[in-house]
Subunit: 138 residues, 2 copies
DNA sequence: GTATATGCAAAGCATTTGCATTAAA
DNA sequence: TTTAATGCAAATGCTTTGCATATAC
């Protein structure tokens, strides 16, 4: 089921040209675009789309659970349409590239007695390292 | 060995009143202060310290490896002086509280064939959930 | 027709930077 | 005395917001 189809199914959410353009850009399984990049790409299809609308739309998609917000390291947030399959991230500390990696069978668990009364909702795992290009550079 | 002692030992780094104040604030094992909070607290000891100097100092401490920068969720970065013991973080998505948790014996490893040529330097694990107070509130 | 989304420009917040002054070594 | 750190204020980068206009339903 594609993002666009899921959005079409909603009756509480108006499907505008701008939102269709944003959804069109957020297609695929290894996409980690910044708001700015989404704006650039969406503009190819709809030149008059504004950055503010891109931000508004992305925030709505995140609130709906249709897109994942990935904030790691410095720099702008990334938006990841791959919400169905649990996965981890691999980031290059040199160039800030961000890749998806399959979640190993062993999702980390909190050690006993370490929950501090929390109800755990999610575990985020981020591998940090140097990509091949940045290894050569350093 | 305390942070202040380690800093005194450096001969390439001038120990000023401001830097001593920042180091004084970053004492203890469960400290996750924002730059602003460090500024507030440091002001108690040294009223004329500026926020810019706090930022400069924190960045230097991070670059030296004496302090950990923790950027998770929205909101400002936190600074964590607990660099010696590897540990994970537990964050409340409601109020943004941040706690240290012991790293389980099983640090997550990248599945075979998923390294994409990267040289891995670090793994960050962040448990997200609701703290007791925020559970009651919701 | 009516509620909602849009674009624009301005505001917001966290952080960094340029530069003249001050202080550590 | 020399070199580096400070404070201030302005600039930056990302993101959000207010409001009049346009558009989906």
């Amino acid at each position: 089921v594609s993002l666009l189809e899921r959005l079409r199914a909603r009756d509480d959410w108006r499907l505008t040209a701008q939102r269709r353009a944003v959804a069109g850009v957020l297609r695929g399984d290894h996409v980690h675009l910044t708001a700015d990049a989404v704006h650039e790409l969406a503009r190819a299809e709809l030149p008059e789309i504004s950055l503010a609308t891109v931000y508004n739309t992305l925030n709505e998609l995140v609130a709906m659970g249709e897109v994942l917000e990935v904030a790691v390291g410095d720099g702008p947030k990334r938006y990841d349409p791959n919400v169905d399959v649990a996965h981890n991230h691999l980031r290059c500390v040199g160039c800030d590239e961000l890749l998806d990696v399959r979640a190993g069978a062993n999702r980390p668990k909190l050690a006993a007695g370490q929950a501090h009364g929390y109800r755990i909702l999610d575990v985020e795992v981020i591998f940090q390292g140097l990509c091949p290009a940045c290894q050569r550079r350093s």
